[in-house]
C-alpha cells in the first residue's frame, strides 16, 4: 500500500452522470488485484475532509481506472478534474479476490456495481467461463457493455423501465436462471446494498453455490486504522469492510 500523486487522464462521461477516468500511478497499478479499491483525496483543502473510496475497475501496467457516479461533493470535484491534473490516492486497499480456474462463474451487477466486476471479469476470463447478469435504471445507464461482450459467454440484462433487456430488477432475471446457477461454482455480486441483501437471503436451494458480495460502507480511513466501516458477522461482532473486504463470502456476514 502506498500514497501517491496520480495524474488523471482519459476522463469521459460513459453514462448519464457516470464518469470513467484513468489514474497514472505505477506503484499502485502494478500491485492492484480484483476486489481492491483506492482512497482518493479529492482536494488539498479539508472540505470535504475524508478521502473517497472507489473500486479499481481496471488496470494497465502504469494506471488504474475508476468509474464513478456523481452523487455529492467528492464526486462533483472528481468530475471537474481535467486530464493532466493530479489526485492523491492511497492504495491498493482491501483484500484481493483469490483467483480460481476452470469454473463457471456468475457475475451479478446492479448499477455502478458493474465497475469492480469489470476488473474481476478481465482477470477470471482466461481460465473460467463467465456469465453476467446486469441491471440498471435504463438503457443509458447500462455502461461497459462493449467491454463485457468479449469477456462473457452470456449476458442477461434488465432495466427498471424496460428500455433494454427484461423490465424489472436484475434479481428477477437472476432468480429465474436456476439452471445457470446450478452449474455455477460461485456468484460475485456488486451493487446496491439492498440488492446484495436480497440475493444473500434468497433460498437458492443450491448448497454448493458460493456467494461473494462487494460490500460498501461509510469509511473513515479505508485502511484499517479507524474501525469505522463495520459489517456484522454472522454470529457476533463486526468485520471491517476496508481490510476484511470489501468482497465478503456472504455466508460469513449478516446483512
Amino acid at each position: 500500500m502506498i500514497r501517491k500523486q496520480a495524474v488523471v487522464y482519459g476522463k469521459e462521461e460513459i453514462g448519464p452522470g457516470i464518469y470513467s477516468m484513468w489514474l497514472k500511478c505505477p506503484q499502485i497499478a502494478r500491485t492492484a488485484k480484483p476486489g481492491q479499491f483506492v482512497q482518493i483525496a479529492v482536494n488539498d483543502s479539508y472540505e470535504p475532509f475524508l478521502s473517497r473510496p472507489l473500486s479499481i475497475a481496471d488496470t494497465t501496467n502504469n494506471t488504474i481506472r475508476i468509474i464513478y457516479r456523481v452523487i455529492g461533493k467528492g464526486t462533483e470535484i472528481l468530475k471537474a478534474k481535467k486530464d493532466g491534473e493530479t489526485l492523491l490516492i492511497l492504495g491498493p486497499l482491501g483484500k484481493a479476490i483469490t483467483p480460481v480456474k476452470n469454473k463457471n462463474i456468475v457475475l451479478c451487477a446492479g448499477g455502478l456495481g458493474i465497475a469492480p466486476l469489470l476488473y474481476l471479469a478481465k482477470n477470471l476470463k482466461k481460465n473460467n467461463n463467465l456469465i453476467l447478469f446486469y441491471g440498471a435504471r435504463n438503457e443509458s445507464e447500462l455502461i461497459l457493455l462493449k467491454e463485457f461482450k468479449p469477456l462473457c459467454d452470456k449476458i442477461f440484462l434488465s432495466t427498471d423501465d424496460g428500455s433494454k433487456g427484461r423490465k424489472g430488477f436484475v434479481t428477477d432475471i437472476l432468480f429465474s436462471a436456476h439452471d445457470i446457477l446450478a452449474n455455477a461454482y460461485c456468484l460475485y455480486i456488486a451493487g446496491p446494498s439492498e440488492m446484495i441483501k436480497k440475493i444473500s437471503n434468497y433460498k437458492f436451494r443450491l448448497s454448493h453455490l458460493k456467494l461473494f458480495g462487494f460490500l460498501e460502507e461509510r469509511m473513515g480511513c479505508g485502511c484499517g486504522i479507524c474501525f469505522g466501516c463495520a459489517v456484522k458477522k454472522r454470529g457476533n461482532g463486526y468485520l471491517r469492510v476496508c481490510t476484511d473486504g470489501p468482497v465478503f463470502d456472504l455466508s460469513k456476514v449478516a446483512l
Binding site: 500514497r3 483525496a41 479539508y46 472540505e47 470535504p48 475532509f49 475524508l50 478521502s51 492523491l88 492511497l90 460502507e217 461509510r218 469509511m219 473513515g220 480511513c221 485502511c223 484499517g224 486504522i225 479507524c226 474501525f227 469505522g228 466501516c229 463495520a230 459489517v231 456484522k232 457476533n236 461482532g237 463486526y238
Partner: protein
C-alpha cells in the same frame, strides 16, 4: 529541539497519534515509529463489539464517529496485540475506558507489568448510552477514577478530558489532585446528524463524537484556557492537520499534541506534519 518530557518519559518530538485513529499501533508502523508517541484505540475490561453501521458521517470540515470503543478487551489486547508492538520505536500509550473506578483499576492492574509507556484514561468518550453518565463530566468521579489508577500504577498517567457540558478546568484540577501526570484536551464533542429522508439519526450509534478541523478553534481555546490556570503538562488535541496547527497548540500552552482525524484522511499525516514542522523550525 529541546527535550520533551512528561515526568521521566521522553518524547522525541511533540507529535502523538490520537486514540481511535491509528488502530492499536499495529498498522503503518513506519509512521508510528517516527512519532513522539502513539495512543492505542480505547481498551476496555471486557471485549466490546462497538456500534452498528454507519459509524462515520462527514460534516463540514469534520467527522462524526460512533465507533463505540470496539476492542477485544484488555486480556486479548495483552496476549494477542501487545506482543506485536514490542518492536515499536516510539512511546506506546494505552487508552483505557471503563464505567467505574473499579474497572479502571482493574485495567491499570492488568497493564501494570506490561512494557507500555503510559496510560491514557479515557473518561470522555461521547459514544456511551447515557451522555450524562460520562465520567469526565463529573469532577468527583474523575477524581475517583484517576485516584484508583494512580494507586495501582507507577506508569505515566494522562487523563483525557472532555469539554462537553463541563468546564475542563474543574476536571483538570480533580485529575491533578488525584495524581495524574498530564491531561489531554479535548476528546470529541457531542454531535448528531439526522437523515431528512427517514427522519431518523444517521449514525448506527444514534449520536457521535465530532472531530476534525471544525472543532479546532474550540479545542485550542480549551487548551489555552486551562494552560494559563493550572500547572500540569497538557496534550492538545482537536483538528490538527498541519504544522501551523501544531505551532498554535504549542503557543497555547500544550507540551505535546495528538493528531486524530487527520490520520483518517491520510495515514501518513503524522509524518507529513512532522516534516513540515521540522522545516518551519529550520
Amino acid at each position: 529541539m529541546t527535550k520533551i518530557k512528561i515526568k521521566n518519559l521522553e518524547f522525541k518530538n511533540p507529535l502523538v497519534l490520537a486514540s481511535g485513529t491509528f488502530s492499536f499501533g499495529d498498522k503503518f508502523i513506519s509512521v508510528a515509529n517516527q512519532m513522539g508517541g502513539i495512543v492505542t484505540k480505547g481498551i476496555t475490561l471486557k471485549p466490546r463489539m462497538g456500534n452498528p453501521s454507519p459509524r462515520i458521517y462527514e460534516t463540514a470540515s469534520g467527522i462524526l464517529n460512533s465507533v463505540g470503543l470496539e476492542n477485544p478487551g484488555v486480556d486479548k489486547f495483552c496476549t494477542n496485540i501487545l506482543p506485536e508492538l514490542k518492536s515499536l520505536k516510539t512511546n506506546l500509550i494505552v487508552n483505557i475506558s471503563g464505567n467505574s473506578p473499579q474497572e479502571f483499576k482493574a485495567l491499570a492492574q492488568r497493564l501494570d507489568d506490561t512494557e507500555i509507556d503510559a496510560l491514557e484514561i479515557n473518561i470522555s468518550c461521547p459514544n456511551i448510552r447515557d451522555c450524562n453518565k460520562m465520567i469526565g463530566r463529573d469532577p468527583k468521579q474523575t477524581y475517583k477514577v484517576v485516584r484508583a489508577v494512580r494507586k495501582q500504577t507507577k506508569k505515566i498517567i494522562i487523563t483525557k478530558l472532555t469539554a462537553n457540558f463541563i468546564d475542563p478546568l474543574i476536571t483538570a484540577q480533580a485529575a491533578n489532585d488525584a495524581g495524574t501526570d498530564a491531561i489531554c484536551l479535548i476528546n470529541t464533542l457531542y454531535g448528531i446528524a439526522l437523515d431528512t429522508k427517514t427522519g431518523k439519526p444517521f449514525l448506527g450509534g444514534v449520536t457521535g463524537g465530532l472531530s476534525g478541523p471544525a472543532i479546532k478553534p474550540f479545542a485550542l481555546y480549551c487548551v489555552w484556557y486551562v494552560a494559563s490556570r493550572i500547572k500540569l503538562p497538557i496534550i492538545g488535541c482537536g483538528g490538527i492537520v498541519s504544522a501551523q496547527d501544531v505551532k498554535e497548540y504549542l503557543l497555547a500552552g500544550s507540551k505535546l499534541v495528538e493528531i486524530g482525524s487527520a490520520n483518517l484522511r491520510n495515514p501518513y499525516a503524522g509524518l507529513e506534519i512532522l516534516k513540515e514542522l521540522n522545516r518551519l523550525r529550520g
